[in-house]
């Protein structure tokens, strides 16, 4: 069987996979190097017309994921927490504790109760399952996942504006009082 086809099938069935640094990348896949160079992520790079946003252009229903808006907000919050220097590249990003993300999430939704915490946890799990975040339950830290590296520079500028509009997690967690974001 064709090696490339086998790798594509593996990545499709299991999501972005981690391989040894020395291996060859199959055709059409992007290689992302972990910050400590211990492993390499393989991501499929779909051509322009084959991505899920084509469904929006055609007016067809997108593949449904559970609670898309909430998950998108949590991803935005995690980008804010993990992207230390907005002028630089997004990947690999710095690991951030979950409390920072929780503080920013509470600030933007202006809702402070245990529902927002469980919503955050649920969204973090969903994102980790799809490859957008790396979640370490032992240390309760989040890192940006490999799929965030595929955003092109045009999208990154939108992301920088978003970064600037969100509150600073450090400032929020330093003050012990409930955050007053605006």
């Amino acid at each position: 069987m064709d090696e490339t086809a086998l790798w594509w099938a593996r990545v499709r069935a299991a999501g972005p996979t981690k391989v040894q640094p020395g291996s060859r990348a199959p055709r059409g896949m992007a290689r992302l190097i972990e910050p400590d160079a211990s492993a390499v992520w393989l991501l499929p790079e779909l051509p322009e017309g084959a991505r899920p946003d084509v469904l929006d252009e055609l007016g067809l229903p997108a593949p449904i994921s559970d609670r898309p808006n909430e998950t998108a907000r949590v991803l935005a919050v995690c980008v804010r927490c993990c992207w230390a220097d907005p002028a630089g590249p997004l990947w690999p990003g710095a690991p951030a504790p979950l409390e920072h993300a929780a503080a920013v999430f509470r600030a933007i939704t202006l809702r402070e109760d245990e529902l927002s915490d469980s919503a955050l946890t649920g969204a973090v799990r969903r994102l980790a399952a799809s490859g957008w975040l790396l979640w370490h339950p032992a240390t309760r830290t989040i890192r940006l996942g490999p799929r965030t590296a595929l955003w092109n520079p045009l999208q990154l500028s939108t992301l920088r504006e978003l970064w600037r509009s969100l509150p600073d997690p450090q400032a929020l967690t330093v003050s012990d009082s409930p955050p007053d974001a605006q």
Binding site: P63, R73, A76
Partner: protein, 406 residues
């Protein structure tokens, strides 16, 4: 007359020959006192005897030799079956004379025994198929006559009716377990229906006079099809909406689900491969989601006041010149005096039309904050019938002293 008699005799002879073969065959199935096949062992004894005759060669066997050739069975049993077979013609003397000891066996009973054994073992579907194929060949052969066709049709009708009746009774009355056990009758023999229809068509086409028999055959074939449908429907209802899967009863599935561990339950999905979850996010989506989060938060909307409109329109409406005009009017009305009554002003004005204009001016002068004039009203009325205004309140227009109190 003789021809008729010959015909009758021939047919009788033919019938007798058939009867003889049938009797030979059914010797082993004879249900008479002492000769009943009550268990499989009797069949085995018969088979052993006939096998012994096969081994014997062209001489035949005596009773004693037959008993000796079947050592597995008791001598009495062998003798008894020997007698039964002889009574029914399966065994006959080599030469018909008294005191003859040697017997020979007819081959038909043994063949039938073999056939019956095979049917008993396999349920008879293949035999039915073979029967149908044989009938088909029989009616298609060029030498087949009308009588052959009719006989074929009648036989097949009987076969289909028998199967259909049995299946219909099972489907209607029996428990589902019995039906499931006999499900072989259903699944294996579905193809009999088109075969039966073919034979029917061929017979009807070749001998149109047999339309009544063919009608009966057609009805019997259709009845068999219906019985299959009903039985299959009953089994499918029992099995639920699953795809047959051996038609296991519900409790078997539940027991499996209750008592298996996660590994064996997950093994069901072994052959399947699913895509990894892949939600799709673009920074545009993220920005929109964060924006929608901000809008949702304020629960109260401010009332729709035009706070964006400055008081500029009011300023445009208020004419700055008004004060000058009013001052000029007040000076004119007062003249050199410090005060003047409203009644005098009205009298001076003359008719009511200009009087009311004067009143309006006086009121405006009084209302205007910048001008130092005021109107003070009293309680009384001046009543005069012939004045232009009959009733006039007592009011005085006078200057106010800016330093003094009002």
């Amino acid at each position: 007359m003789e021809g008729a008699l010959d015909e009758t005799l021939e047919s009788v002879a033919a019938g007798a020959a058939v009867l003889r073969v049938y009797r030979q065959v059914f010797a082993v199935l004879a249900r008479e006192a002492g000769a009943m096949i009550g268990d499989a062992e009797s069949i085995e004894v018969d088979e052993a005897i006939l096998e012994a005759f096969a081994e014997a060669g062209s001489e035949g066997l005596t009773i004693a030799q037959a008993v000796a050739a079947c050592p597995r069975f008791e001598a009495r049993e062998v003798e008894r079956r020997f007698g039964v077979l002889r009574d029914y013609g399966a065994l006959s003397k080599v030469v018909e004379r008294s005191n003859e000891l040697y017997y020979r066996a007819a081959f038909a009973p043994y063949v039938m025994l073999l056939f019956l054994r095979r049917i008993a073992a396999q349920g008879g579907q293949s035999e039915l198929h073979q029967l149908l194929t044989l009938e088909d060949l029989g009616v298609r052969s060029p030498t087949a006559t009308l009588e052959d066709g009719r006989a074929s049709a009648v036989r097949l009708t009987k076969v289909f009716r028998l199967i259909a009746n049995e299946l219909a009774i099972l489907a209607a009355r029996s428990s589902v377990e019995t039906l499931r056990e006999n499900a072989q009758l259903l699944w294996g023999n579905r193809s009999l229906v088109p075969q039966g229809e073919e034979v029917h068509e061929f017979v009807l086409g070749r001998w149109p006079q047999l339309h009544r028999e063919c009608a009966a055959l057609r009805i019997a074939v259709a009845a068999y099809g219906d019985a299959i449908e009903r039985a299959a429907g009953r089994l499918a209802v029992q099995a639920g909406t699953t795809r047959a899967l051996g038609m296991l009863p519900v409790e078997t599935w539940r027991t499996f689900a209750d008592e298996s561990d996660a590994a064996s339950l997950a093994a069901v999905l072994d052959g399947f491969l699913f895509d990894a979850p892949s939600a799709w996010f673009t920074p545009q989506l993220l920005a929109e989601a964060v924006e929608s989060a901000r809008v949702v938060a304020p629960t109260r909307l401010s009332p729709p006041r035009p706070e964006a409109d400055p008081p500029q329109p009011e300023e445009a409406v208020v004419a700055v010149d008004d004060a000058q005009e009013l001052r000029a009017i007040a000076e004119r009305l007062l003249g050199d005096r410090t005060q003047i009554t409203v009644a005098e002003l009205l009298d001076r004005a003359g008719d009511w039309a200009s009087g009311r204009r004067v009143l309006a001016e006086v009121t405006a002068i009084h209302q205007h904050a910048d001008l130092q004039f005021e109107v003070v009203w009293g309680d009384r009325l001046r009543v005069s019938a012939d004045a232009p205004v009959s009733f006039v309140s007592l009011g005085v227009l006078r200057r106010t002293d800016p330093a003094g109190a009002r």
